[in-house]
């Protein structure tokens, strides 16, 4: 494990646009590999100097994790380690002239020290041009919690420099498929947002699909065909305990959590027709939202829980609609551009939707501004789908194809920055980005 990370840390800092970097842990899981396919030309150069107090081959190289996170955001270009002539670990030891020569705009230095309760990680952020200190903090940590602390530092640095909260302490869930039809193995996997530490949540020889994070980040709802028909499950990640919450006759699909975590909007086909329903989890009470004979599916709640967005083909082809989540309401059509718009997902600020649109012959990811009704196509694949916003709204992770295989990719919300997260083996699909962790990480 250490060897692998050492090599990983080294390669992580070989930073050239287009270089492939290894992110995954050395488990048997398919690792996610980062390829920057469209770099931002004005990415901010920053030096993240190796932290003091870190033994050679330490399990977590804090500076490497921080640098990789900043690289992943698309907005920063971390300096390669081999270009660092000096390696200060305190602000006082920094000679800013050195770093101006290396053309870094900012510098992060720090150290890991033993502490009464475990470890303490101190970091300092400076503006290289002016020498001005921008941020410094001492974070309590432990050997096991060091990686989480590194992500927290990346969050703090990112927010201080961009004004946007970092999303580096979050997780992603996705589905992997190995083997070829008809003998395939489906897995639902959770990993850190940087691809580290993939963990199988559930696996099956029957399809798994549509994972959805609960608002508290503690559970995943998903669809499984393990019973030879589709059913919706809710699984608690910490314990592995899971409940089958809907196995009604016909289709059970597309679960979407209400903001209060008490309800799931989902798709049922109780009278041979697909419609959107709201299921109260505690009571199993069911409210039917749509009654049209068309396919109504893929619900998504608004931030205040007062609306549900969904896909319907009642106009003849799939488009995105909005409806109030009580019985007997009329839906309002939202999308009119392009002949196919589906799978709406709300941005964290509630002001736009990410969706799949058919744009000039390719299925692509677009954002739809709920106020201006403007559709902005962000990607250029042929088979892009399953968009999910990062909880800071700055990026969208989605599924795409690379040759014959499904891979994940990320695009910034304004479309300027793109990267691919490809996997060694198998097919990766349906990524969903977790909410922010409920409690601050140690």
């Amino acid at each position: 494990m250490t060897k692998n990370l050492h090599g990983w840390a080294r390669t992580a800092l070989a930073i050239v646009a287009g270089t492939a970097l290894w992110l995954g842990a050395s488990t048997a899981q398919a690792q996610l590999r980062l390829d920057i396919t469209q770099g931002v030309r004005d990415a901010v150069p920053i030096a993240v100097v190796p932290f003091g107090g870190q033994a050679e081959g330490a399990a977590t190289d804090v500076a490497a994790v921080v640098a990789n996170d900043l690289l992943l955001s698309g907005r920063f270009k971390p300096l390669e380690r081999r270009d660092m002539v000096t390696r200060p670990t305190t602000g006082a030891a920094i000679r800013f002239e050195d770093w101006r020569l290396l053309r870094s705009d900012f510098i992060v230095v720090g150290r890991v020290e033993p502490d009464a309760a475990g470890l303490a990680v101190t970091f300092e952020l400076f503006n290289v041009q002016t020498g001005q200190p921008l941020l410094s903090q001492r974070l309590p940590s432990t050997e096991r919690g060091l990686r989480a602390t590194a992500h927290r530092i990346a969050d703090l640095v990112f927010e201080r420099l961009t004004g946007i909260p970092g999303a580096f302490s979050t997780r992603i869930a996705y589905v992997t498929v190995d083997g070829r039809p008809p003998k395939q193995r489906f897995r639902l996997v959770v990993a850190d947002a940087d691809g580290f530490g993939p963990r199988t949540i559930t696996e099956s020889s029957e399809p798994l699909m549509s994972p959805a994070w609960s608002p508290d980040g503690q559970s995943l709802a998903y669809v499984s065909f393990e019973g030879k028909a589709s059913a919706v499950y809710v699984q608690r990640l910490a314990t592995g305990e899971r409940r089958r919450v809907s196995a009604r006759l016909g289709i059970n699909g597309a679960p979407a959590w209400s903001p209060d975590g008490r309800k799931l909007a989902l798709t049922l086909s109780r009278d041979a027709n697909l419609d959107v329903y709201v299921l109260e989890l505690a009571s199993q009470g069911l409210t039917r939202l749509t009654t049209d004979g068309s396919i109504d599916t893929e619900p998504e709640w608004s931030r205040d829980g007062g609306s549900v967005y969904f896909t319907s083909d009642r106009s003849g082809s799939p488009q995105v609609y909005r409806i109030a989540p009580t019985a007997g309401q009329q839906p309002q059509r939202l999308t009119f551009t392009n002949g196919y718009n589906a799978r709406p997902r709300l941005a964290p600020d509630g002001l736009s939707l990410a969706l799949v649109t058919l744009d000039r012959g390719g299925y692509r990811i677009a954002t739809f501004d709920l106020k201006t009704r403007n559709l902005h196509v962000l990607t250029d694949g042929r088979q892009d789908e399953a968009p999910s916003f990062a909880p800071n709204g700055a990026a969208i992770i989605y599924a795409t194809r690379s040759g014959a295989r499904g891979t994940l990719a990320m695009v910034s919300s304004d479309g300027r920055f793109q990267q691919r997260l490809s996997s060694d083996t198998g097919d990766v699909r349906e990524p969903v980005w977790s909410p922010y962790p409920a409690a601050p990480q140690r």
Binding site: P182, K228, L274, P318, V356, E385
Partner: protein, 178 residues
């Protein structure tokens, strides 16, 4: 005793078909395909049970079932759930079997090609399965004899992002489950 030989041959063909790796199945032209081709596709469906293993059924039923295994897939055009005329015979054959053997059960498995979003495709697959269901019921099959399931794009038989693969995946499989 020619019919015994024919039955043995049919059972043998089924057995062989079950052992072979599923090959790509060509979409049915106007004429029905050969038993071995469709037999493979049948066994590649989920939970296919061959009549040959059910102890309670009669010889006649097993024979009739064997004949059905040769043609149990209806293919569809893009974005369509209409049964094209060339597949009327497939539906009729299954309707004939189900009305003749009232304890027989069929599971209609609906599928789509990979384009577009997954849950919407579950809906399209279901729509196709429902079309076949209605066609069967119109020919006298009892409601209780039919179940439907949609796999959307999740269970393709053909890999690839071209029309060849797409056309093989847009299908309903009629799986006799006794």
């Amino acid at each position: 005793m020619k019919w015994t030989h024919a039955l043995a041959a049919a059972v043998l063909a089924l057995g062989l078909a079950a052992c072979q790796k599923p090959k790509q199945v060509q979409p049915e032209p106007a004429t029905p395909s050969t038993p071995s081709e469709s037999g493979e596709a049948a066994t590649s469906g989920i939970g296919t049970d061959t009549g040959a293993t059910a102890g309670a059924t009669s010889e006649a039923q097993r024979q009739a079932l064997a004949a059905l295994q040769a043609r149990n897939i209806v293919y569809f055009d893009y974005d369509s759930s209409e049964i094209k005329p060339e597949y009327d015979a497939v539906v009729s054959a299954h309707a004939g079997y189900l009305t003749r053997f009232k304890t027989a059960r069929v599971r209609l498995e609906g599928h789509t090609d990979e384009r577009g979003s997954r849950e919407y495709n579950i809906g399209l697959g279901e729509r196709r399965a429902q079309t076949v269901r209605r066609a069967l019921m119109l020919q006298g099959v009892g409601e209780g004899q039919i179940t439907t399931v949609s796999y959307g794009e999740e269970r393709p038989v053909a890999e690839g992002s071209d029309e060849g693969a797409y056309s093989q995946n847009r299908r309903v499989e009629l799986v006799q489950v006794q």
